[in-house]
């Protein structure tokens, strides 16, 4: 290939939006709001799996909670007809993520698996990504945290403990994905099978409301549930192209929620 061809091919490659011709895997999640009971087992599991800091009562009162997945609650109506609606909100791993472009030191990027990753050691803590995220799922470590003994023995050795001044957010349990990909490679270079890797929240949901998988695989459970007629994405009008699809809760016609 001569110089001109090489140049035009490079130019085309570097001008392609999103850069990737195709992802290796394209991890996605569906959350069935009909099944979700708001029990917050996913929140607890995430906290255990990913060494989330125990922020403490005083700091939480100031509003500094760190919950990579949170259950949002919306009250409707007046007593005694009060209804509660809730929706689990976690990092949507947007394919057109607004948070990735703004980091001045390139501490967050879109990897070849379609995940929005955060590189803790590169982060200098400008907190611009938290401002740019419309779902507000990015959390900052305002102080150093410590775990009272013996809680530090519960920490997951596969996950770092973040120091103060660093942003963090849901990673779709990338340590589990890595492990699954390693197993698949050792097993004879096959692809990761559907259901083989589950993030902590998906694994712990008692109602099976969360489904996780590779949406490139048309046979996977997640790809099928993304085509459900109830499917929608939060804040879709912002064109962030999220990878988390919610399935609307079905309610009786005369009732707002049951």
């Amino acid at each position: 290939m001569n110089i001109l061809e090489r140049f035009t091919e490079s130019w085309r490659k570097y001008r392609k939006p999103g850069y990737y011709e195709e992802f290796d895997y394209h991890w996605a999640m569906t959350i069935d709001l009909d099944r979700c009971t708001g029990c917050e087992a996913c929140v607890t599991a995430c906290q255990a799996e990913n060494n989330l800091p125990i922020v403490g009562e005083k700091e939480i009162a100031k509003g500094r909670e760190v919950q990579w997945i949170r259950i949002e609650r919306y009250w409707e109506g007046e007593y005694p007809d009060v209804k509660l609606r809730f929706i689990p909100m976690l990092c949507q791993h947007c394919d057109a993520a607004p948070c990735e472009t703004v980091c001045p030191v390139s501490a967050t990027y879109h990897n070849q698996d379609g995940l929005n990753t955060q590189i803790y050691n590169r982060c200098i803590g400008t907190r611009a990504c938290a401002v740019y995220c419309p779902y507000e799922v990015r959390y900052f470590n305002f102080t150093d945290h410590h775990w009272d003994s013996p809680l530090e023995q519960q920490l997951n050795p596969d996950v770092t403990v973040r120091e103060k001044g660093v942003m963090e957010k849901c990673t779709f349990c990338i340590q589990r994905i890595r492990q699954a990909k390693d197993h698949a490679k050792d097993d004879g270079r096959r692809r990761v099978r559907d259901g083989e890797v589950q993030p902590a929240c998906v694994q712990s949901c008692p109602a099976n409301a969360l489904v996780f998988g590779d949406r490139k695989d048309p046979e996977s459970q997640v790809a099928k549930s993304m085509n459900d007629p109830r499917a929608y994405r939060v804040l879709e009008e912002l064109n962030t192209d999220p990878s988390v699809v919610y399935l609307k809760k079905v309610v009786a016609k005369d009732d707002h929620a049951s």
Binding site: P98, V105, E136
Partner: protein, 455 residues
Amino acid sequence: MQAETNNLRYADVNRDVVRSIVETGPRYYVALATAGSVTLLCFFFPWFYQLYFGIGAAGMNHPGVWGTYLASFIFWIGLSHSGTLLSCVLHLTNSSWRKAMYRSAEAMTLFSLLVAATFVFVHVGRPWFIHWSLPYPNQMELWPNFRSPLLFDVMAIATYLTGSSIFIYMGSIPDFAAVRDRTAGWRNTMYTLLSLGWRGTDKEWHRLHWAYTFLAVLIIPLAVSVHSIVSWDFAMSLVPALHQTIFAPYFVVGAIYSGTAGIVTVMFVLRKYMNFEQYITKVHFDNLGKLLLLLSLIWSYINAVELFTGWYSGTSTEYEALKFKMFGYYSWLYWEMILFCAAAPLLCIFKRFRTSFVPMLILSIAVNIGMYTERFLIVGTSLSRQYLPDAWGVYVPSLVELSIILGSFALFTTMFLVFVKIVPSVSIYEVKETMDTPTVTSNTEPLAPPEGSPA
């Protein structure tokens, strides 16, 4: 202009300016010591505490992750805008009233930029790694992310800082030469080095004029771009109250506005405490007052447009953000801002107000308080009301933050106090250009003949 300085002679200008540099009384040392200690106690010590404890020492939370540090950063960058920008514009339009005050205004620019730069260090979570935002080759082969508005900021502010320092230095070279001749000892050495052997030949004046004009032509679009870029830190987000195209002009107008008010304050202080009553006169305050009025009207218009378009859009998020701004938790700050920045400057319609020194001082301080509030509201109220109502929250600044804000003013004052004793704070040669040329024989004290002449 000429009438004010008719009884001044060229020699008087030299004498007054050199005296302002060389003679220091106890009042100066007291002021310097106070400013220095307040800086240390209120800016640096709380910051070191924050370095130890984490950003948690400040009041920021989720979702209010940006707070007064960023608001202060924008405020100080805004304050820096009037000095150099105004000086350049007025130079290119050949206005004469700028001559006495532009040196101090440019110094204000430089020191505001330096204070703003320190706020970047204070604001960031891990400032010991802040050098990663600079493009330098390294072992990790990593480069900063040039698509980021924060990085445009880094480039723009670095350029503006360099440009302002060079601009103020170039304009001062002839003045350094004039002061060099009247000083001795370490001062003489310093000014000899700084003046680069300037002699005032016609060739040197010609070159200086062209270089200065080209610098002014380059710096004007630079200054406009710097604050536009700072505004894009906000405008490129998806936050409902921030994602607006009017932010770039809004910030630039706000910057020139608060910078002009800053110049009025600095001029008052210089005039009173450095014995420059004959150089900084009612004419200057009159013109600055007119400028302040104009900018205040433009600023009010932009605010009204923001309200109107927010209401007209009909989108719930935008409407909610505006409602929160005007009637929510911070509403008292909003109305205080309107009072100080939109209503109070209307007093400048009256010439009697514009030409009185103390009322203008009070107005300028009020305008700057209002503009600081505006920056705080931009950061605080918009982050409190974003798309998902469950994540709404309120942010209250902590004592550490308030102390650092106070300390930043002290830091600026300290730097400015050191400046007035090193660089002539009134431009000697430009003031002379506004005076009648001497028509009588010299009244200067006899100087020793220059070395090397057979006299």
